[in-house]
Structure formats: C-alpha cells, structure tokens
C-alpha cells in the first residue's frame, strides 16, 4: 500500500513534535519581564541622580543595548535566548543581538562587504517595515487631527 504525498504530510505532522508553546510563553514572559524590569531600575536610578525623564529613559535603553552587545560577543546571549525566546527578542535586547551577531560572524569577509553589508541582514526587515508602519501611523494621526 503506497503512501500519497497528502497522506505522507499528515503522517509527518503526526510524528513531528511541536514546539512547547506554553513553556516557551512562560519563559518569554518571565525573562522578558525581568529584562524590562532591569531597564526600569536603570532608568529610575538615573532619575534619582538628577537626570531628566527623557534622558533617563535613553540611558535605560542604551544600557540594555550595550549589555546585549557585550553578552552576544561573549557567547552568552544565545544561551539565554535559547530558553527565553521572545523574551529576549522582543525587548531592545533582541534588536542589539540581531545586529551584533552578523557583524561578528561576517567580519571574515572584510569590513565593507562582510561586516557592514551583513550587519542589518536580520534587523533590516524590522527597520524597513517598522519605519514604514510608523510613517503610515503618523499620516493617519495627522489626518484625524486635521478632521477635528
């Protein structure tokens, strides 16, 4: 009894284990929350030392970016991300990692065509669609304001 492609795909789905979604969500929630809390602590500390809110927030983000870049270079970030998943990808930490990781990887092909050209390989699409979305959002907001 030969198997058809359709039957085979069903069979394959049956025996292929699925990603542990609930476990992944819990880890993402806990570690992602922890990262955001660290950012908040840094921001609050900055404000306590007399820095204005806007600048304190910048210091909070910059600290997380620097920390992820260093942890990426030290080969630690991916070990955390393996368990954290979206918990490390969604905050600004994921963005920093997605730029530093290819920069390290592709420096063997030179500083221009290797490092620089590949640096935004992963983050590039996020930038393209992120900026596009923010422009559309801005236009809609402007239109609504004009209607008022």
């Amino acid at each position: 009894m030969e198997v058809t492609s359709q039957e085979y795909r069903k069979l394959s789905e049956k025996v292929s284990p699925r990603s542990p979604v609930l476990k992944n969500c819990i880890f993402a929630f806990l570690i992602g929350g922890l990262i955001c809390a660290i950012g908040q602590v840094v921001t609050n500390l900055a404000m306590e030392s007399g820095i204005e809110l806007d600048n304190a927030r910048l210091i909070g983000s910059a600290t997380l970016i620097a920390a992820s870049a260093i942890l990426t270079a030290l080969d630690v970030f991916d070990s955390i991300a393996k368990h954290a998943g979206a918990g490390t990808i969604v905050p600004i930490t994921g963005f920093a990692n997605s730029i530093v990781a290819p920069a390290i990887e592709f420096k063997t092909e030179g500083l221009v065509l290797g490092l620089a050209a590949n640096m935004f390989k992963i983050a590039g699409p996020v930038l393209v669609y992120g900026i596009t979305a923010s422009i559309i959002y801005g236009l809609i907001l402007n239109l609504l304001n004009m209607l008022k």
Binding site: M1, E2, V3, S5, Y8, R9, L11, S12, V15, S16, P17, R18, S19, P20, N24, T72, A73, D75, F77, D78, I80, A81, K82, A84, G85, T88, I89, G94, N97, S98, V100, A101, P102, I104, E105, F106, T108, I122
Partner: protein, 337 residues
C-alpha cells in the same frame, strides 16, 4: 566489472576493497557515543584556522591524509578522488584537497554525498578505469549555520524537529586487494519529493527517498531486510527514521532491530541538545568511517547496507516556497572471512 542488476542496482563483481578509512570530528561529536571510534577529535572547532570554511577544508585534508596513511599509500597512487561538502561551490573540498595533485571530480549530493562518492569510487575501480580512488566528504556546523541559517551568536530558538549539522569529515580509499571491507553493490537513488517544505524538518523530507532506494535495492537483489546485519540510513534523525520505518512497512518490508540511523548514532540526544539528531554530509561520513567500518573490519558486522540521504534544496528555493526534494544512495558493504 560493474554489471546492472534489476532496474536501479549495479553489482560490482570484482568487489573493490576499502583499503583505508578515516573519520575526524569536532568536540561535540567527540563527546558523543561514538567518540572512541574516531581517528581524531579536534577540541578547537576552528582547527586553528581563521575562518569556518578553512576549518572545514582542514577537516577534509586531515581525513584524507589519515585514510592514506592507514592504507599505506601516497597521494600520487590515487587515480581519482570524489569529494563534496555542503558549502557553495564545494569550497571545503576544493581548498582542502588542492595541495594533493590528485585528479578530482567534485560531487554534490547534499547529505547523501558520502554514499555518492563511495559509489563512484567503487564503480571506477571495479570498471578498471582506476586502480585506486578516494571518496571524501565533510560538513562543519559553524560553516553550514552561517550559510543556511543564522549567525552563530544570534539568539533564536530551534524547533524540536531540527537537526544538528555535524562537524566531521570522512575519507575512504578504494582499490583492489587485501581482506578489508568490500563494496558489493550500489544503488543510485532518484529524486523523491512528497511536498514537505519545512526546512526545520529535513528528516521528514528525506525519509521517502531513503524508502524508495532501499525498496529498489531489495527488489533488484531479491533480498529482505533480515538478510543484513545492519541497515543504516544517513541522518534522517528521530522523526525521519520513524517515518522511514513506517514507509518501509507500507512497502511490506518490516525493519527490525538491525535498522539504525547515523543521525541518531552520532550524538546522545538526551544530553547533547541536538533536538532530532545529527545531519550534514559529515554525519553519515564520520559514522561510516568510524563505527561501521571498524565493526566490519573486526568481523562483528558482515553484511551492511549504508544508505546516505540528502535534502536537495537551497535557501533560495525554500524562500521561493518550493518543497524539499530528497535523494538517497545505497552502498552494500560486505566483510568475508
């Protein structure tokens, strides 16, 4: 002389012999269950080289040199070498082997390359076109990751169906004479595509090809799975090998305890975080050139079917939404007293 038997199989009546073989691997593979069977385990996966591609070339060079030494022959005695890897334009092979001055025919069969190169080497020797040929194959986890997936330090999650590309190379020297392991038959497989398009589930994509090739061989030779001490597929992993068993059952061939898979043998899945098992053309190459050929040389295994499987897609074809065509080639290995 090679003679056709049935529709797909070629019988090598002169029975070319494996004169020497060698497997060299990286640290993770060395820590696996087959660790003590390898000729060399490199604790440093860069092998002291500046790039991962050079590291993979060094693996091939090392495997070939050690296989030559074990066979007791010099590179100038080798008429042809058949070599392949997973990198674009097969640069691990060409750069790794350029210093030897041996006529080369580069091969690409994705992860099936070890069986493909071994089959060609055996046919060339048996036909009289060559006295001695070499079959060499490699893969490197880091070189493959950066070409096919993400940079090493990128923080992503691998699904449970994904497989781990082996950092390993295997080399076999084929000629006549001696009482080593002999290559009795080869079956070259055809492309089989059941429409699987998940690049994180390559075992499932390749299992139908392995089943077609084994089925073709068993029909051509009129034998049954029980006639062999070991039937081993190349890197189908946990999911692929389960599907392979099921597909063979549907073809009325029950596989017993004599069936195994190189992707399952190379790592200890419970402790090595490789998810569904090993993959990459170095996986089946290193398992063949360590455990399998050692056990055959010592006579513990006498009659083995080695079926290396390959997934014939590229990042471009996958991004364009194409499914993953699979292929599998078979070599029938025997050890007589």
């Amino acid at each position: 002389m090679p003679e056709r038997k049935g529709q797909y199989t070629v019988t090598l009546s002169g029975r070319p012999t494996i004169l020497g073989y060698s497997a060299v691997v990286g640290k993770k593979e060395g820590e696996g269950p087959l660790g003590r069977y390898f000729d060399m385990v490199f604790e440093d996966t860069t092998l002291g080289e500046k790039t991962w591609e050079k590291a993979e070339s060094a693996l091939q060079r090392e495997a070939f040199t050690r296989a030559l030494n074990k066979a007791g022959i010099s590179p100038s005695q080798v008429n042809y070498m058949f070599a392949g890897d997973l990198l674009n334009q097969s640069i691990a092979s060409t750069f790794g082997l350029r210093e030897f001055g041996v006529p080369l025919m580069g091969q690409f069969g994705a992860c099936s390359t070890m069986a493909q190169t071994l089959a060609l080497a055996a046919i060339f020797v048996d036909s009289g076109a060559a006295d001695i040929c070499a079959a060499i194959t490699s893969s490197h986890f880091c070189a493959a990751e950066r070409q096919f997936r993400f940079p090493l330090e990128y923080g992503g999650q691998r699904p449970p169906t994904s497989q781990w590309t082996a950092t390993a190379a295997g080399a076999v020297i084929v000629g006549f004479g001696g009482n080593g392991v002999k290559i009795a038959d080869v079956t070259v497989g055809y492309i089989t595509d059941f429409g699987i398009n998940d690049t994180n589930n390559m075992g499932a994509a390749m299992a139908p090809a392995a089943a077609e090739t084994l089925n073709a061989y068993l029909i051509d030779t009129g034998t049954r799975p029980d006639d062999y001490d070991l039937i081993v597929t190349g890197d189908l992993g946990a999911i692929g090998s389960e599907l392979f068993r099921e597909l063979m059952e549907r073809k009325s061939f029950q596989l017993g305890a004599n069936y195994s898979d190189c992707g399952m043998m190379l790592y200890d899945r419970s402790r090595q975080d490789v998810h569904a098992g090993g993959s990459g053309c170095g996986c089946s190459a290193s398992v063949l050139c360590s455990y399998i050929l050692s056990k055959m040389t010592s006579g513990e295994l006498k009659n083995v079917l080695f079926i290396a499987t390959g997934a014939l897609m590229s990042p471009t074809s996958s991004q364009q939404g194409e499914s993953i065509p699979g292929i599998a080639h078979l070599c029938h290995l025997v050890k007589t007293e």
